[in-house]
């Protein structure tokens, strides 16, 4: 029964809408297969250029981030500096902060109006540079993710590598033979996430005034010609195909699963020099990002900031506005993302369970399909929903689904599902079958086994899954921009975007952004604080369970 609910969910909120969207793109008005729309699409150089630009931006961002991350990761590896878990966690912050905030911050910082841009007087404004600045912003935004996944996958063996080096292997050999192959899964994971997110990003190019990318073009067509426009379906389909290919390529290249938990690292106390190298390296990165986000931070406390190095007068009123007028958007975020995360955890648990129990030949397919969910871009999903649910009425509510906010959490949940499945798989791995068997043999009723054994043992993993999905949903602006039914229903990320648009709302928008970044960081750290004592117990318990069997 449960599995039919699962199938129904996937069918209704993923397969059917996306399938219908693809069909709409390749059929004519009589419903027969036709390439008319495709011909139309290919005939317009703007769309071709957008396709090329999207590929350039996404590939470029992934490559740039990797190129920047590799030498630093190597340096850290070589000095076997293992960043503290808190810093590692910061590497995952980009997943929870929308990149357009960085774009706007850089505009404030490098634009002619203030700070560095005013000082230099040059044309460093990212909006003037256009396409390259989109690429740069995405690369900068996802660089910490790439770096940290790289560090996490390589650091486990840095000590051994050091010893091996003492035994005569050259460093260069070690790096090419050990560091790169070791780091490959992390690198590929970070790069493919960067690629997919950059491809899907809508708010960043729009903030920078760049229109000739697939996502903005699809967005424009839907908003100008309505959701039934076949060309937008086709552009969205194109995005799905590219993303899926990229994701498959990254899996095929690596053929290794990224472990979300880093390997055990029995660290000897680092030497003074190593500590200095590590600290200066990481400190430098932290400083860089503090500077990059200074644009937003300054705007959030500036009253008047116009064509001067620093704001001429300061105020905290933007924070009051953000906390007062925008309280609604925080509540909206809580509702949507909470709703989506609950759905995610339930569906993810079921999927993880199904994958775990599936016959081996199905297992690989299911795992891939689950990971492939990552490759449905938010814009494409939103367009599919707008088309598919246009005529569906909500029961008891006398309203079509697309006029309600119902689609938004569902889209969020589909987008968060791959993360949920992964997290739930890990949670389930912590509950080997025999633990449940032992309980049912002891004569406990099903309900008691569920509440006393299964739930407490899964609780922590499910909590992590919930937070992960919540975070991913909270920054999913690409689907939110198309699916938010009204301003009052906007989640925080969208409110930031809207606020940033107006002269007097800029401060409040920046304040909102600063608040939400602070909130995300705080909740990640709280999560970690919760995780730490447990993980100690958990790892010893895991070690025991898994080495024993």
């Amino acid at each position: 029964m449960l599995f039919s609910v699962l199938a129904l969910y996937l069918l209704a909120f993923l397969a059917l809408p996306v399938g219908a969207m693809v069909l709409r793109g390749v059929t004519n008005t009589e419903g027969r297969f036709s390439t008319d729309h495709l011909t139309l699409l290919l005939a317009n150089p703007v769309y071709l250029e957008s396709l090329g630009n999207s590929l350039v931006v996404a590939c470029g961002a992934a490559l740039l981030a990797a190129l920047a991350a590799l030498p630093i990761a190597m340096l850290l590896w070589r000095h076997h500096v293992r960043p503290s878990i808190y810093i590692e966690l910061c590497g995952f912050l980009p997943l929870f902060v929308p990149p357009f905030v960085l774009a706007l911050s850089l505009q404030n910082l490098l634009g002619r109006g203030g700070a560095l841009g005013w000082l230099l007087g040059g044309d460093l404004d990212p909006a003037i540079l256009g396409l390259p600045s989109v690429m740069l912003v995405e690369a900068l935004h996802y660089f910490p993710l790439v770096l940290m996944t790289l560090v996490m996958t390589t650091s486990a063996s840095s000590q051994q590598a050091c010893e091996a080096a003492r035994l005569g292997s050259s460093w260069w050999r070690l790096m090419t033979r050990i560091f790169l192959p070791l780091g490959m899964p992390g690198l590929a994971f970070g790069m493919s996430i960067t690629f997919l997110k950059a491809m899907d990003d809508l708010a960043t190019p729009l903030s920078l005034g760049v229109t000739n990318l697939l996502a903005p073009q699809a967005f424009f067509r839907v908003s100008a010609y309505g959701s039934q426009d076949p060309l937008s379906s086709l552009i969205a389909t194109l995005m799905v195909v590219i993303s899926a290919l990229a994701w498959l390529a990254s899996i095929r290249l690596v053929r290794q699963h990224v472990s979300w938990r880093s390997g055990a690292f029995a660290a000897a106390a680092p030497s003074r020099r190593q500590t200095i190298v590590g600290l200066s390296c990481l400190g430098g990165i932290v400083m860089l990002y503090a500077t990059l986000y200074a644009g937003v931070a300054l705007t959030s406390i500036a009253r008047i900031w116009s064509y001067t190095l620093l704001p001429e007068s300061f105020t905290l009123s933007h924070y009051l506005t953000a906390l007062g007028d925008e309280r609604g958007s925080f509540i909206n975020t809580l509702i949507y993302c909470g709703f989506a995360a609950v759905v995610d955890v339930l569906v993810g648990l079921l999927m993880a369970y199904a994958i775990d129990r599936a016959a081996p030949r199905w297992k690989t397919g299911l795992t891939w399909a689950a990971a492939g969910l990552l490759s449905v871009p938010g814009v494409a999903l939103a367009i599919a929903y707008l088309q598919f649910f246009r005529v569906v009425e909500l029961p008891f509510f006398n309203q079509t689904i697309d006029a309600s906010w119902f689609m938004l959490p569902m889209a969020f949940s589909v987008r968060g599902l791959p993360f949920a499945i992964r997290a739930c798989t890990i949670a389930l791995q912590r509950l080997p079958k025999s633990y449940v068997d032992a309980a049912s043999l002891s004569g406990g009723s099903r309900l008691r086994v569920a509440t006393k054994i299964v739930l407490p043992m899964l609780a922590f993993g499910l909590f992590v899954a919930f937070l992960l999905c919540f975070g991913v949903a909270a920054v999913d602006l690409s689907s939110a921009m198309l699916l938010v039914p009204s301003e009052t229903d906007a989640p925080v990320a969208y409110s930031i975007y809207l606020n940033m648009q107006s002269t007097t709302g800029r401060g409040a928008g920046s304040a909102l952004a600063v608040l939400s970044i602070a909130l995300v960081t705080l909740s990640l750290f709280v999560l970690l604080a919760l995780l730490r004592p447990k993980s100690k117990a958990a790892s010893s318990f895991r070690k025991f369970v898994f080495t024993a069997s």
Partner: protein, 444 residues
């Protein structure tokens, strides 16, 4: 055995999820008034606060999107699930809605005038009413221009001068209702081809074409760019909030009422009517004077009332002056008929080709600068030719698409032609660049 051990937990969790969803649906189902509007957040927030306080039985919700998109939005929604009120400064949208029977009459119980000077405030048939007036013009950052010793512009044609190159910012006609209005009033005031030439030349001086109207005043107030093409209130709100910006009404410019109307097939018509009454009342009109809104109320008593002098800044524009100094040449019917075509041309020639356009414009400016120093008729001819290619619409005013009523068929026809316009724009700019460079080489 399969699935046994997990079943109960998920079942109970499902129940919890269901309850949660019902709960939140319950919250959303309270009596709300949905207002579709393209206005910035400040306006909406101010009206929401005041209205919700005044009428506690209702709750206003705003659907925010560019006025240009109301048609496609309503077409996507069946009657009964549409927003209640449409409130926008895009006159074209109101006419389009009227044509498609998407409005219902409001009645005539309001004190606002139907006509001020030569400008019609209300719809003759009583379907929509003017709520505020706005005209468009140029805004500039005084510090920015002073630092570069550039004189502030007075009107549109000033903006084509080479010294403004890279300092101007405007939005896209297809994405911003107010920009569409600016474009259309220039086209109607100056004529189709001269109008396009002016618009494309200004766009060639633009540093960037922003996605939404608000980005223009935003980047001018912050000093990122010097000059912007805006509708008055976007500039005035910055000015009266203390930013070093100023604004001048430009000519030709249409003085257009921002109107408000009740949507046919609204979910809550009574609530919608209440909101409209509020927006047109003295209380609602006074809200327009707030510095962060800075619009021109249509109710004359607001200007004359001295009971709350602090409401209005000393140099606040006066309704009669503004209307008097800008004789309206604006014909909404013409505008409505070619709405989609104008947007499509703007997108294909300006928005999507902006980088090329800027390069061409720079090349032409460079050549002209040299030409002034060393006159050369041959080079001048080349430059003229380049200008002719770069600064044109590529579509004849008599084109059949222009007079067709907006319909599915027209949308399809435009999509077909768009590709052609895009290619033409690309080749025009390439050719113009070539010509300008030839001229430049000749002058060296």
């Amino acid at each position: 055995m399969k699935g046994n051990c997990l079943r109960p937990i998920n079942r109970s969790a499902c129940v919890v999820g269901l309850l949660l969803s019902l709960l939140s649906v319950g919250v959303a189902a309270s009596e709300s008034v949905v207002v579709a509007s393209s206005f910035p957040k400040e306006v909406l927030v101010a009206y929401k606060k005041a209205f919700d306080e005044r009428y506690p039985q209702y709750r206003v919700e705003f659907v925010n999107f560019p006025g240009t998109h109301i048609m496609s939005y309503l077409a996507d929604h069946p009657a009964g699930s549409r927003p209640d009120v449409f409130w926008s400064s895009s006159a074209d949208s109101f006419r389009a809605l009227l044509r498609h029977d998407l409005l219902q009459p409001i009645g005539d119980r309001h004190e606002t005038p139907a006509k001020i000077g030569g400008v019609n405030i209300d719809d003759a048939q009583g379907f929509y009413k003017g709520q505020a007036l706005s005209g468009s013009g140029v805004m500039w950052n005084t510090r920015y221009l002073a630092a570069r010793s550039i004189a502030p512009p007075a009107t549109w044609s000033d903006l084509v001068r080479p010294e403004y190159s890279g300092h101007v910012v405007m939005s896209s006609a297809s994405r911003s209702g107010t920009t569409h209005l600016i474009v259309e009033s220039i086209l109607q005031g100056a004529g189709w081809e001269p109008g396009w030439s002016l618009i494309v030349q200004i766009a060639g001086n633009c540093a960037t074409i922003t996605d939404r109207s608000f980005d223009v005043p935003n980047s001018v107030t912050s000093g990122r760019f010097g000059v912007g093409l805006v509708v008055d209130f976007l500039a005035l709100s910055g000015k009266y909030s203390g930013f070093p910006v100023d604004f001048s009404y430009a000519s030709p410019s249409a003085i257009i009422p921002a109107s408000i109307a009740l949507v046919a097939g609204a979910r809550n018509p009574a609530g919608g009517a209440t909101f409209i009454d509020f927006a047109l009342s003295a209380e609602g009109q006074r809200l327009l004077l707030r510095p962060e809104i800075s619009r021109l109320p249509v109710l004359a008593e607001i200007y004359s009332s001295r009971d709350k002098p602090a409401d209005k800044p000393a140099d606040y524009p006066d309704l009669v002056d503004v209307i008097g100094s800008n004789p309206s040449v604006y014909d909404p019917d013409v505008s409505a008929a070619r709405h989609l075509v104008v947007n499509a041309i703007f997108s294909q020639r300006v928005s999507f080709r902006h980088r090329e356009l800027v390069v061409v414009t720079r090349a032409i400016h460079a050549a002209e600068r040299l030409l002034r120093q060393r006159p050369n008729p041959q080079a001048q001819a080349l430059i003229e030719q380049a200008r002719g290619l770069a600064y044109r619409s590529g579509v004849a005013e008599s084109d059949e698409l222009m007079s067709a009523a907006p319909s599915r068929a027209q949308v399809a026809a435009i999509a077909g032609r768009e590709a052609q316009w895009a290619r033409q724009a690309g080749s025009d700019y390439a050719a113009a660049k070539e010509l300008a460079e030839q001229a430049l080489a000749m002058l060296h």
